[in-house]
Amino acid sequence: MKTRYSYGGDEHIYVEVDEEMSLDAFFISLSMSNAVREANIPGVTEICPANASFEVRFDPDVIAPADMMERIKELEHKAETAEKRLSTRIIEIPVFFQDPWTHETLMRFRERHQDPSGSDLDYAARINGYDSVEAFIEAFHSQPWFVSMVGFVAGLPFLYQLVDRDKQLEVPKYLRPRTDTPKQTVGYGGCFSCIYSVRGAGGYQMFGITPMPIFDPEQEVSYLKDFMVFFKPGDIVKWKPIDQAEYDRILKEVEQGSYTPRIAEVDFDLDAFNADMTGFNAKLMEALNDA
């Protein structure tokens, strides 16, 4: 890994941990941004971890850019030697795959797609070498995902699957972005999955939809009363396939304020994960099933 430090104008420092995506790069980005937060450096106004990079915004009237740069570089060594452990939570997110709403939308924007003859899932399954959409969906939901970044727009999580590089699913974005995506669509672009937190434009392939709101500016959703954004970087997600009956049931529970997402507190240890990915993931999912 080759870390690049740079200024972003006179108010930001940008750290590209690695050019390519990997769990190692994500882990260093997250732990370095945590270290910056813990260092309580005067003048820091925003700390934004991303997939394989992070950014610090600061007030150059409080701390000189060169001093800020020095402080952050000092933390690199600390992050490298730190134990790659993270206390976090695993969350079950129900997904209605091949739902009528994203299907209607993908048909509406078919001419912007690489393969107008089928659905986004048909295309994704084929180019990843799966015999059927069902087998592709199985690969998509059977192993958990890291929330590697929250952003683009309010509360939108990017997710990276906790599997070996050769098992990563990869799908290009639409040839031209859509002008519409249903709220809570589960999408895919590059090696990242995402959940569209709000309705709007989008370029990711559409696989399904979750009935669970993840952003609520009104804070009426029961589990968003403390804060309007559900996800934070470092969260772990396990997709749970559901059918339309369960989708409708959860939707009703959300409206009535009785829906509670299934969540378990877990520790993630990168070395232990790398030593036995399937075994480690099985333990994560066990914790979720016990919750």
Binding site: Y7, G9, Y14, M21, E46, G151, R165, G189
Partner: protein, 323 residues
């Protein structure tokens, strides 16, 4: 009191100095595109500098007042009328109960700031009244103002009429506008030749210019340093593994048209950025009309910090003039 919106204008929004602190969750700081103009407008009517105003772009609204208030309009030049009678910009005046404030056609700049004594008093969201329509946050019920809205205004005293910001303390872009840039971020992706061309070319503001970002066209397509695209970055040479964006950062999707991200920026994405417009020049972008010629000027950090200090000194002079 309330402001009764008769006509909303093109895209008139409530703005203050924004809500920093939530960019890591995808919520941009927002706030006035031209912060100096907003501060000046507030000072003119005796408000705290960070009070909420109306920001109108290209076309002004029409507003009826139900109580008397002091008003000041700053930013771009747009004829100001109170019941048809002209008023000076960058200068305080009184609007009586029942009178209507309206505007003529934009003459220069792109955005005006309408400050009313007492300040706009909608419910703040995450510490700010600034409108962020994508997230339905702040503003008037999470959106821009519309005809028929009654926008609440806080308690405020009238100030004397004719308080003014001297012309030499008003700041707007020249023609061609010059935007100073610190290279960095993914600058290494460009060939040396292409990097030079970016600063030598004259660009024009494209019609796609809003609070999220300003697009420019007219320069040469960019050339990238060859590389095998890294895992997760996407196939186009302008793609990177999605990262955070800086305010003011300049991305060039496909290497053709640069976009400068502004106050309502998306917080991240998969395009390389070649550097960022310095903080002192961000206000100027908010006053650029489509088709304006623009030169990007390469500067170093010490010049950026000097420009920032100059801008602070300018605001201080306006304060001294008005407080």
């Amino acid at each position: 009191m309330t402001l009764k919106i008769v006509k909303p204008g093109l895209a008139t929004s409530i703005q203050d100095l924004g809500r920093p602190g939530y960019f890591h969750l995808g919520i941009p700081e927002g706030g006035a595109m031209d912060r100096l103009a907003l501060r000046a407008a507030n000072l003119l009517v005796g408000n705290p500098e960070d009070a909420a105003c109306l920001e109108a772009v290209f076309m002004g609204p029409e507003i009826t007042f139900d109580k008397a208030a002091s008003v000041a309009i700053t930013g771009g030049e747009m004829p100001i009328l109170v019941d048809g009678e002209p008023k000076e910009s960058w200068t305080s005046f009184t609007v009586e109960a029942g009178q209507t404030l309206s505007f003529g056609f934009l003459k220069s700049g792109a955005r005006i700031y309408i400050a009313v004594s007492g300040g706009i008093a909608t419910e703040p969201a995450l510490g700010s009244r600034s409108t962020y329509p994508i997230g339905a946050l702040g503003g008037f019920h999470g959106r821009n103002i519309a005809a028929g809205d009654e926008v609440p205004v806080g308690e405020g005293a009238l100030v004397e009429e004719g308080r003014t910001v001297p012309a030499d303390l008003r700041r707007g872009p020249g023609n061609p506008a010059e935007l100073r840039v610190l290279t960095g971020l993914y600058w290494y992706r460009l060939t040396e030749k292409s990097g030079e061309a970016f600063f030598n070319d004259t660009w024009t503001v494209a019609p796609e210019a809003d609070r999220m970002g300003y697009r420019f066209r007219g320069g040469l397509p960019m050339e990238f340093v060859e590389r095998e695209q890294p895992f997760g970055a996407g196939a186009d040479p302008s793609n990177i593994v999605d990262g955070c964006y800086s305010y003011g950062s300049i991305q060039v999707p496909g290497g053709s048209e640069p976009i400068v991200l502004h106050r309502d920026a998306v917080s991240g994405g998969g395009y390389f950025t070649l550097g960022a417009v310095i903080s002192a020049d961000m206000d100027l972008i908010g006053q650029l009309q489509p088709n304006t010629s623009v030169k990007f000027i390469k500067v170093e950090m010490d010049e950026a910090l000097q420009a920032r200090a100059d801008r602070k000194a300018l605001i201080e002079k306006i304060r001294k003039e008005l407080v």
